[in-house]
């Protein structure tokens, strides 16, 4: 792609940045990536491009910044319509947006609360997290992907969360595979996609990051 200047402000372990990278890969778009040091000091460019939230990901397209990962993925899909990430019909799109919204509101928080909870609170957090997973599993139904037969918007929004599940599983002492086998199969299926496989970090490295983060926050 010539004349398309795409720069992603990134953080290696962020599932939100991952969504954007997967979407760009699905569309076959090349881009430059700049790793932000979120703990050491955010770059001038980040603070200027996202003054309101000062968060990654930020996608700069020909210098114009876009913020909020699901919104960025939507932009990528509308700007480069092929292959489409959303269904063609308005109703299909509304269902995709509904589930993306649910995932945004519930999934990451529920997963992180498991490893953020001290002592006995873990059991409650684990129960809440599994409940959210079961809702998603029911939404998936017998489909290969949330997009139906094809990998799409909701899959992109959800799959990066999955590489954080390992940390929740270790702290909660359970496996997603046992609790939600169909969802677990979807995770494996999605991780085999090239666009996903080439950007996912090692779950062990994510787990190490979580340990470090917990220490920083003083969680026992």
């Amino acid at each position: 792609m010539s004349n398309e200047d795409l720069l992603l402000l990134d953080f290696w372990v962020s599932p939100f940045c991952m969504r954007v990278k997967i979407a760009l890969a699905e569309k076959g778009l090349s881009y430059e990536s700049k790793e932000e040091d979120l703990f050491g000091g955010k770059s001038e460019l980040l603070l200027k491009s996202n003054p309101i939230y000062q968060k990654v990901p930020v996608l700069l397209h020909n210098g114009k910044p876009l913020n909020e990962s699901a919104i960025i993925v939507g932009y990528i899909d509308e700007k480069w319509p092929s292959p489409p990430l959303l269904p063609a019909c308005a109703y299909g799109r509304s269902q995709a947006r509904f589930w993306a919204d649910y995932i945004d509101k519930k999934l990451f928080d529920a997963a992180c609360t498991v490893w953020r909870s001290p002592g006995e609170a873990v059991e409650v957090a684990k129960k809440d997290f599994i409940e959210v997973l079961k809702v998603l599993e029911e939404a998936l139904g017998e489909n290969n992907f949330f997009g139906g037969e094809t990998f799409g918007f909701v899959d992109i929004v959800a799959i990066p969360m999955a590489f954080w599940f390992y940390a929740s599983e270790k702290f909660g002492n359970f496996t997603v595979e046992e609790e939600c086998p169909k969802l677990s199969a979807w995770i494996k299926r999605s991780m085999q996609r090239e666009s996903v496989a080439k950007v996912l970090p090692d779950p062990e490295k994510v787990y190490d990051f979580v340990i470090m983060f917990r220490k920083m926050q003083g969680i026992e």
């Binding site: 876009l66 308005a90 509304s94 809702v135």
Partner: protein, 232 residues
């Protein structure tokens, strides 16, 4: 211009489950009325939810729920985009992908930082109330900047973002009164103050606002229920 798809959309029954005082519910009604779409309205008692509501929205169990023929959609912003894509007259979202992304960004921002901030301020007491109010004012400053020079967020006519933040023109002054907090200072926010007047004077909007005195009583009761806590 009635395309075949538009005509087909016009034959399927449209139903909205809502609550008279809900800003989430009203924004959907505004979109339908602006587009001239006929719909059946069902008032839900959100404190005693009907089996129909629980069946149609088992995930969140909330209003509004929108039904078009056999299709069921929940979450007000998801409903708004569906309505805009299905009934093409009076388009609400801009066409350009960058502008659409910005519209969605400001919509999310206003909902998270202004609506929930103001609600929290209204329903809390003392220092917590003040803190929430200050954060809300900070957020309103950003929206004011976004508006400057324009009659509506959508430009010369009402657009998606006007509908998304339209609640500010009517609910926010009521919440300020009920919660005894000041957020919308006209001196600090001249553009928004002017926008509020334009929005409320729009012929469709002004015919579709819940009665003010009922709203005051309702939100007084709600905020009392939510802010009364045993003191430690």
């Amino acid at each position: 211009m009635a395309t075949k798809k538009n005509l087909m959309a016009n034959t399927e029954h449209v139903k909205l489950l809502g609550f008279w005082a809900s800003p989430f519910s009203l924004r959907v009604e505004w979109a339908l009325k602006l587009k001239g779409v006929d719909y059946e309205y069902i008032e839900e008692d959100i404190f005693n939810k009907s089996s129909q509501l629980l069946e149609l929205n088992p995930v969140h169990k909330l209003v509004p729920v929108f039904v078009h023929g056999e299709k069921v959609i929940a979450e007000s912003f998801v409903i708004l985009e569906y309505i805009d894509e299905t009934w093409k007259q009076c388009p609400l979202m801009p066409q350009d992908p960058h502008e659409r992304a910005m519209t969605r960004f400001w919509t999310k921002f206003a909902e998270e930082k202004i609506l929930f901030g103001a609600w929290k301020s209204m329903c809390s007491l003392g220092e917590e109330k003040e803190k929430a109010a200050k954060l809300t004012v900070d957020a309103v400053e950003k929206i004011e900047e976004e508006l400057k020079g324009k009659r509506f967020f959508g430009g010369e006519s009402i657009g998606y973002l006007d509908i998304a933040v339209g609640w500010m023109s009517y609910w926010l002054p009521i919440w300020e009164e009920v919660g005894s907090m000041k957020i919308l200072d006209p001196l600090q926010f001249p553009a928004l103050t002017s926008w509020m007047k334009n929005f409320l004077e729009h012929p469709v909007i002004k015919e579709n606002l819940p009665p003010r005195d009922k709203m005051i009583i309702y939100f007084q009761k709600r905020s009392q229920e939510l802010s009364s806590r045993p003191r430690g």
